[in-house]
Structure formats: C-alpha cells, structure tokens
Amino acid sequence: MTAALRLDGVSFSYGAVQVLADVSLALAPGERVALLGRNGAGKSTLVRLVTGLARPAAGTVWVGDWDTRDHSPDVLARRVGSVFQHADQQLFARTLEDDVAFGPRALGFERSDVAGRVARALDALELGAQAREHPYDLPPALRKLAALAGALALEPALLVLDEPTAGLDRALRARVTRALLERAGRAGAGGGGAALLVITHDLTFAAELLDRALVLDRGRLACDESLAGLLGAAARLETLGLLRPPVAELSTALDLPGRPIRAADAARVLARVAGGRADP
C-alpha cells in the first residue's frame, strides 16, 4: 500500500543555513503522527515541503504517489489539507460557511458536494451555530477552528496541522481532538482514514490524539517511535526541548501498569488498581 506521505533523504537550506538534513520518514494511510521539536528545529519547513510550497534541495517528498516537485500547492491540495500557524488571519468570506467552502469550490467540486463537505466539517467542529456569522465577528479562537474546518472540508488523505491548539482553551482543544479522531477514523480519499501529521508543543493534546512521534533536532530526525514510548523517558525528552505532560508523569509517579499517556486510560487503570488489591 502506498504511504500517505514519504520523505526520502530530504534536505533543505535557506541560503547558507541548513534547516533539514537527510530526513527520511513515512506515514501509512490513517496514521496519526506528532511532529515535535524545539522552535527552529525544522518542523515548519518540513510542512512547507509537504504542501509543495518549497522544494527539497535533495531527496524526494512523496504525497501518495505524487512527487511534490511535479505539482503546485493548489494541485497538492487535493491530497493534503493544511492549516498553518495564525490561520485566523486567512479568513475573508462574508460568512463562516462561505469561507469553509472556499477550498472545495477552488478544487472544482459540484455545488451539492461542496455543501455536503462544508456541513460535515462544521458539524465535526461543532461550529454549526456560527455558520452564518462574519468571521471577524468571532474571537480568534473560533476563527482558528474555522480554518481547520476549511481543511477538513477538502476531505484529503493527509492532514498537516501546525500548532492547531495554540490559543485554544481546554474545551476547544477537546473539540479539535474529537473532530480529528473522527476524521482519521472515517473514509478519506482512497477509502482509508486520513493520515494526520501534527506539529504541536501541546504534549497533552498530542497524547490524546496521536500514536507516533517524530522528533526533529537541528534539522535531523532524532526520534521515530511510539508517542507512549517517547513520553516514558523524561531525561531524553528534556534534551530534545520537550517536557513530559501531566498524565505521563502521573503514570510514572504512580507506577501505573501499561504507563498510560491518555487521561481516560489513566483514569481507568487508576480505578482498577485503586479498586483491586495489588497490581494485576
């Protein structure tokens, strides 16, 4: 099966500064992956390469079976839905639902098809009540959700998100998590669920949504392993500029079997251990 995304020995530089060096990775369809690392480690550059906004100096970026060098970003948008930082600044339509419809319309879908996609996207993010509002009448947090809805409406095989929870409160972060879990589980283009590649500093959010972790350190891929495994080792996290989130810390401190990293899992294990006698 073709990978949803594959990088083969990709390197990239801005002028004299090498930002990515020989990065190779692959995402299977429907996989949910966190892209982590310090600011300046190369994460945003990697996203630019995936969306076709930049071309690798060396190596190849494959989105499905497309080489990104062969297609412009607007064509790649058929396969990659992306939301960058400060996406609240990209809105311009008169109503929220018009803005969400922008992408599908630009890709040339039929009107009824567009309406369906918009409805599903707004529904997933619980934005139905704000559908007819002017984007700038809404707080920036909701505008961010609207930008995400715009990407969901493309119903792509791969979703690439840069800090989707920045500026969101707990409740809105939970909404984003639910929407993305649902989207990854659903049928995207090609019949599999959408693959997710998410840049985030919010490791609690990452733990709730994502399974695998790719860590960039000074342009190189320092880690490619399960998120649970990565969050288990506190010392290594710090050297990569990351801090262990509360649930993972709690799991370690209480020596919970299975070392759960998700709140619901931790609660379940905690209940079992507290209710039962010794560890099962």
């Binding site: 310090r38 600011n39 300046g40 930082q85 707080p139 920036p140 947090a141 909701l142 920045a166 500026g167 969101l168 409160d169 707990r170 409740a171 809105l172 939970a174 500093h201 490791l203 609690t204 710090e238 500029g241 990351l242 801090l243 989130p245 509360p246 649930v247 810390e249 709690l250 401190a253 209480l254 709140a263 619901a264 931790a266 609660a267 379940r268 905690l270 209940a271 507290a274 209710g275």
Partner: protein, 262 residues
C-alpha cells in the same frame, strides 16, 4: 505598596448591551500572583484591560463600579498576539525593548540598565542586534515581555504569555513570573495552561460569562466545581474520572503522596 482594587466592576464594550464583566471584585497586592481562568469570552482579557487602564479609557465602553491603583511604578499589559505589539519604530531588539522606557522619558543610563536586565531575564542576549521583524513567534513573545519588564511595572498584566513558546520556554517564563512576584511586582495572568498554575500562583479567579464564579487559593484548581467544568488540573481530572473520592490531588507530587498513603 502596590495595590489594585476592582470594586463591583461592570463593563460593557461600546455599542454592546451584554456586559463583558459583571459585578467583578478583585484585589491584588504587590508580590501576589493572581491567575484568571475561564473559557474563551469569559472576560479574562477584558478584566486585564480594565486593570491596565486601557478599558474604558482607550477601548471605549461603559464602566460601573470602582477601579483604583496605587503603585511605585506603571501598570502595563502584555497582550496575546506578539506581532501586533511591535512598535515598528525599532531597528534592533535592544531598541524595541527600550521603547517603553524611552517613552517614559527616563534618562539614558537608567534605560540601559533596565533594558540589559530585561534582556538577560528573557534569554535574549544573542538576539539584541537582530531586526525585530525577522524574529520567530517565540522569540517575539519574549521580546515583548522584556519590553514591558524594562518599564519596571508595579502591576504586570499578562494575557496568555506562553502561547507562542515551546514547553521549555514556557517553563522559564513561569519561573520568571514567580521571581518578579518575589521582587514585589503585583501580577495578574490570564492563561489556559492550568497545569502550570499550582507552581506559580497564589490565587485563582474563575470567570464565567463575565462573572466571578469562584475564587480561592491554587487548590481551587482541584475543587469539584472547577474539575467538573474542565477548569481543573489534569491530575485532579484524572483522579475524579477514576472514581476516587475528593479532595483530588492538585499536582503529580500530591497524587504520589496520596498514593503512598493508601
């Protein structure tokens, strides 16, 4: 001694009937850190603007109730979006940080001292001669904070100060908040990083639709009311979800202690 008092403050934005703040009372003294928690639109940002003398004076709108401030320094606010706070009048990061103090008309050597100290505190030494418009979001946020600190505010108001920072950067900033409080600055911070609060805040004010729903020491973040409203620490929430009885532990350390004793 620095003191900020809000007495039964109700505030409405211009041309808006529904109040953004309703009957809010709050007192903050020098050396205290008060955290405002609440969902988007609950009024935390508005409260900071009122405390900072920007609402209604600059923003417009109507205010009822009383706001009084006494301090041996200015009050200043760090807003949530760093790039809108750049002065646009500075060549270098150093000049950007010096912008506030320069506007206060301080003598040049005093400006130098305050700017240098702020630069060190926010880890900006390597960036002082950079053009501010070329900085990343995280660097920019630290520069803006430094620019406010260089004014030696007696009351420091922070609106989501860690939004653009990575986890290590955020931890450094929270530690700095504690340090500043130790030096006598009164600090009010609005944030959704609830798990960071127990280590740094003296008091928590929970805002819901413009009203104070609850206020208390940091342990409030482990109270049933807040945890149910998804405004508690993650540890407390997990404890509750596990069906374990209150009082819920506030932090991992508390949880570990309780666990050992069982």
């Amino acid at each position: 001694m620095t003191r900020l008092i809000l007495e039964r403050v109700t505030f409405r934005y211009p041309a808006t009937e529904a109040p953004a703040l309703e009957d809010v009372s709050l007192e903050v003294k020098g050396g205290e850190v008060v955290a405002l928690v609440g969902s988007v639109g609950a009024g935390a940002s508005t409260l900071l603007l009122v405390a900072g003398d920007l609402a209604p004076r600059v923003v417009g709108g109507r205010l009822e109730g009383r706001v009084s401030f006494d301090g041996d320094g200015p009050r200043a606010i760090v807003l949530p979006t760093p790039w809108t706070q750049l002065s646009g009048m500075a060549f270098t990061v150093w000049d950007e940080v010096a912008f506030g103090p320069a506007n206060l008309g301080l003598p040049r050597d005093e400006i130098s001292r305050q700017v240098d100290q702020a630069v060190v505190r926010l880890d900006l030494e390597a960036l002082t001669s950079r053009d501010p418009t070329t900085l990343s979001g995280g660097e920019l946020q630290r520069v803006i904070v430094a620019g406010i600190l260089a004014m030696r505010p007696a009351l420091l108001l922070l609106d989501e100060p860690t939004a653009e920072l990575d986890p290590v950067g955020a931890r450094t900033l929270w530690k700095l908040v504690r340090t500043l409080a130790g030096e006598g600055t009164a600090i009010v911070v609005a944030t959704s990083e609830l798990d960071a609060l127990p280590a740094i805040t003296d008091r928590v004010v929970w805002l819901e639709r413009g009203r104070v729903a609850a206020t208390g020491p940091a342990a409030l973040l482990a109270s049933d009311a807040l945890v149910v409203a998804n405004m508690g620490t993650t540890v407390a929430a997990v404890w509750r979800a596990a069906g374990l009885p209150p009082p819920y532990p506030l932090t991992v350390a508390h949880a570990a202690q309780r666990w050992e004793r069982r």
